[in-house]
Amino acid sequence: MAIFILKRVGLALITLWILSVIVFFVGQVLPGDPGRAILGPLAAPSAVHALDQTLGTNRPVLTQYWSWISHFVRGDMGKSYSYQTAVAPLVIKALGNSLKLAAVAFVIVVPLGIFGGVWAALAAGKPRDRIISVVGLSSTVIPELVSGIVLILVFGIALNVLPISATAPPGASIPTQLDHLILPAIPLVLILFGYIEQMARAGTIEALNSDYARTAVLKGLPRRTLIRRHILRNSLLPTITVVATQVGYLIGGLVVVETLFRYQGIGSLIVTAANGKDFPMLEAGILVIGVAYMVATLVADILYSLLNPRIRYQAAE
């Protein structure tokens, strides 16, 4: 088991290193001269040169990369160009906000998706199954932008029952904060519901068709016990992995949802940084998202292998 985890962590670290190289080169090197990019095409060459000097962007690329990444792993993400303060506290605060929003979405969608999938599978081929599948499929393909707009128009403006800004007033109580987060969470829930529902459905159908399920039925086990003890445990296995891989989609969705609902999370931080050509903040934000995604995938892999010994032994061989 230890070998398996070590192997996975090692692979994740290599992937992260490659990611850091990609992010750094695309963010820092491709735009050409950062001083010029910030000051615009009309600025005097001397001013551009002076700014490059201050930012340290006129040093050799490898030196720049080394100083960036070696500071980064120690928690120093550099200084924001536009805010003139350290990037790390801004990124951490934004990440915290995003996690709050993501948590609300997950708490709603995971039970809903699993329940929907199992419930559909128990009526496989019948109208109930088809309705749930169609709802799942269509909610998954509609962009968060569209569902977000419609939700704002219906619940925020026409019915006026929920706030259209995700940001609660400072010092607001937890229920008030939740009130502000429900509407923004729904587009994320809609995107994820289909994936989780489909996995849970497929897993359940497979379990239902298995020999052990038939044995359980034949030995007279009540249907309720059969589902709880034999079916759920096996059908949830693939679902766990899907939930973790959805973290990527979730973060992508956060970018739009946070912009739409004016919420200061990691997604809107990246958009702000990109529009303001704030390269240190942009790179830090993106790398942090990469780390979050890798951690989620890693946890899913480990959890999966804990629940399914076959994988563990294969990997150790």
């Binding site: 992937t15 509609i142 128009l153 259209i164 973060i251 990109a274």
Partner: protein
Amino acid sequence: MSIDAMPVESAGAVKSGQYELRGEMLRDLLRSKTFRVGAAILLFWIIAAVLGSTLVPQGPYAQNLNAINQAPSAAHWFGTDQLGRDMFARVIVGARDILIVAPLATLLGTVLGTALGLMMGYFRGRTDDVISRFVEAFLALPVVIIGILGVVALGPSNGTVIAVIGVIFTPLIARTVRSAVLLERELDYVAAARLRGEGALYIMFVEILPNVLSPIMVEFTVRLGYAVFAIVTLTFLGFGIQPPSPNWGLDIATNYGVVAAGYWWEVLFDALAIATLVVAVNLVANSIEQVIEP
């Protein structure tokens, strides 16, 4: 993409059988209700994109400052925006931009991804390992984030969006092609070609490629849906085509500020247009997938 246009000569003995199969697929496709609904909506937007401003009473750029923020009426079916421009015209003409950018971006990704996937699957070993690692690092980021990174590096424009989405799709498509090639390369016809002394490039593109076209076509249609999704998102965030061009994502971003004042029509119809296009592409993709890989 026409199914009949595929070269089948190199498949040798199975030639005629395969050809019949493809004709049958087309018939199945046309019989599928999902496909017909999706294709009808898609056709509507294609006509809107091609004919554009000839279909609408006012031009999408024509401002009328005496009639700003007008609710939908007989004169302005979808109302007017903050500059008094007709929203109906902007929604109809707005189809052109996305229907050019999305297919081009997907095509670019499909071509690059197919080449990369053929190489990974055919050479395996070290080439495959190194490329796979890069692909994995790439996939650790959501599409929209990579898109933002690319657009920042290259500047916002339609060309950038096409390049960025194309490059993002490359590893995704490569992964699918790779697994198909891994199966094909073990077959006798590949061994025969190798014994004949054909080069690797010839075997990859002339022998293997025609036999992995089905999964590639499925990938293309599925990715097209994602492309519309990603492009709409990027333009909404301000990283695509710039104002005053009529574009659904861009118009939502521009008019979103006045929604709280009750001018719902300035964003709703754009949102619905996006929804119908995305759903249509996905319906078509789903039915093609079902016919090719039942």
